[in-house]
């Protein structure tokens, strides 16, 4: 099927490899990926910080860029949730396209759980709050990960507690964010995993930034990058 990729401004700028992984994965599964160049930001940061006036034009821009697509995929649970739950709130006139977070697209729309990936590492999965409680992706990401060959998937204790990122929360309430981060890092380290994965690079940047500062040696990888990985990859 023909699928439009909504890369998100954040991944576009900071984590292009995640976008490339989505393209590679979907093409490997036999689908066509479009990248509508008119896309920019979904407005989540502004909306969640209270700047609705500033966010509103982004909603119209988004609907325009993705008009006509029957499926839009994005490697971000929170951006998918923003479009789905709040674009109508910001602008009742717009008709947002159907946006799926990657695991939703794969499992619900495309009906696959084994995407033919190979990733021989010890991995633990953090379910991000918005994928869990806004989108209700449930165990879809875990189903996908379990089917990855070579993976040693270990359960993360207190997985469902928030990592403390929360967008501008991490800046406005830095001390509380730090305290939540510290607990999340402790749990990640207790698993002995080499890699922490999640469906959102924003949370991963926050947790991974802390893990890097403490020189824990635990790396972070977006779910898409693990699912795209294959034998013979460097």
């Amino acid at each position: 099927m023909r699928i439009a990729l909504f890369i998100t401004c954040f991944n576009d700028t900071m984590f292009p490899d995640t976008g490339k992984a989505v393209v590679r994965l979907l093409e490997r599964l036999g689908h066509t990926v479009d990248f509508p160049a008119g896309q920019a930001c979904c407005g989540q940061m502004h909306f969640n910080t209270g700047y609705r006036r500033e966010a509103k034009p982004m909603v119209g821009r988004f609907a325009e860029a993705f008009a006509g697509y029957e499926a839009v995929v994005t490697p971000s649970g929170s951006c998918a949730g923003m479009v789905r739950d709040y674009h109508k709130v910001l602008d009742p006139e717009v008709d947002p396209p159907p946006v799926y977070e990657l695991s939703e697209l794969l499992v619900d729309v495309l009906g696959v759980t084994d995407v033919g990936a190979y990733f021989p590492h010890r991995v633990t999965y953090h379910p991000t709050c918005h994928s869990l409680r806004m989108l209700r992706v449930g165990d879809k990401p875990l189903k996908l990960l379990r089917a990855v060959r070579g993976i040693d998937l270990v359960e993360l204790p207190a997985a469902e507690s928030c990592c403390g990122f929360g967008g501008t929360f991490a800046l406005k309430n830095a001390d509380t964010s730090d305290a939540m981060l510290a607990d999340k890092m402790r749990h990640v380290q207790s698993t002995g995993a080499e890699v922490l994965t999640a469906g959102d690079n924003s949370c991963l940047m926050h947790i991974g930034g802390g893990l890097s500062r403490l020189r824990t040696g635990v790396g972070t990888r977006h779910l898409a990058e693990i699912l795209a990985a294959q034998e013979g990859d460097a």
Partner: protein, 485 residues
Amino acid sequence: MPDNVTWLGTPAFPEAARTALGNNQLRTNLRKATGTIRDKRLAVTGELADWEQLRDAGAALKLRTLRHLDSHLVRLEEAVTKAGGTVHWAADAAEANRIVTELVRATGQTEVVKVKSMATAEIGLNEALAESGISAYETDLAELIVQLGDDRPSHILVPAIHRNRAEIREIFRGAMGEWGRAAPDDLTDEPRDLAEAARLHLREKFLRAKVAVSGANFAAADTGTVGVVESEGNGRMCLTLPETLITVMGIEKVLPSFADLEVFLQLLPRSSTGERMNPYTSMWTGTTEGDGPSDFHLVLLDNGRTATLGDEVGRQALGCIRCSACLNVCPVYERTGGHAYGSVYPGPIGAVLTPQLVGVADKQAASLPFASTLCGACYDACPVKINIPEVLVHLRARAVDEKRGPVPSPETLVMKAAAMTLSSPRRLGWAQRFGAIGGRLVSRGGRIGRLPGPLKRWSDTRDTPVPARESFRAWWQRTRGEGRS
């Protein structure tokens, strides 16, 4: 307008939270207590296969209540009056305090016993009574701990959740004697012994009390039946033994019908203390000859509630049944505790209720909707499905709009500039190229370490990756060429 919803002098949330986070004992106490209650709640809600249907019914009943609040209150007044009670209306805290004070004075008494009540804490009733020479004795164990410790409540259900058993023992030993019967010299920190000390201390107060003040968990408009849900029996003591009972109730606590309790009596105990049913629930309708108080007064309190009702999104916060499940699951509350919220209503529900009751022009109250990562755990736990994250972002917008003036703040300037960039693919492309260059200038080994300015606090504890040399869109353009625009 509302008097005691927020505590004067409490700094905005980020600063108050910093102080709280520095208290290791507090964090240990909170982690233990919230962990215990979370497991209990999940166990008893998990017993009911139709828990979601009960939540839907609870939410709908609250909507039915709020959309016709005037009609229900008038019906309630009629039913209570018919049953021998007297109904009073108080537009704000000062009026409520005046009504209660005059009612107590009319009895000639200078002491009242109190059942734990959020409404009377909100209006600062104890302080108001004290000014008129009337002593108010809190009789709920946790409220007693707070009162004896000259402390503030930090939780809706368990106001002394921030105290552990050893601290409670010290408070009892230090202060009980000043208020009445002293704690025994050999008091241990066993919860059973502490409860026994409270029993003995309060017993004499119950037996001589002539006037009681309570809140209410609900009042049924059709029958005029008022109810208090509790555990210890202090509520029953206050509601049964004195001659005069004065109940202060927020106007939103009315329910259309007694039969609606079939939903709330299932939702509340399971969400609150994690029990199938709380030990005691008392219900009374006006007065009953020869049983309980012969004089019953119901004070209906507005104090900012009608202003909240006027906000079509924020209104749902008035559906709160004060179970405190949202506090117990909140990752922010778990770390900071309740005092950081600077209000009698802490936690997620406080973050949506307090700013509405006092208004977002109040700087401290306006900081509360930002005290959340929007993780959504509160919404999942709420027995009446208050969409707390939705109200939080709604109130953030109100707080931002309130501050907009002719001269934009530094934050507004940054957000405006970001909006300019993020709403245009072309400008975003330029910014990405600048960002990649700038990032490489400040980075070492592909990571950015400590940064100055607004990003300082972020970078104090986290490394940040350098923006990619080639953005995704640049890569796509380079490798795939065409592309819809």
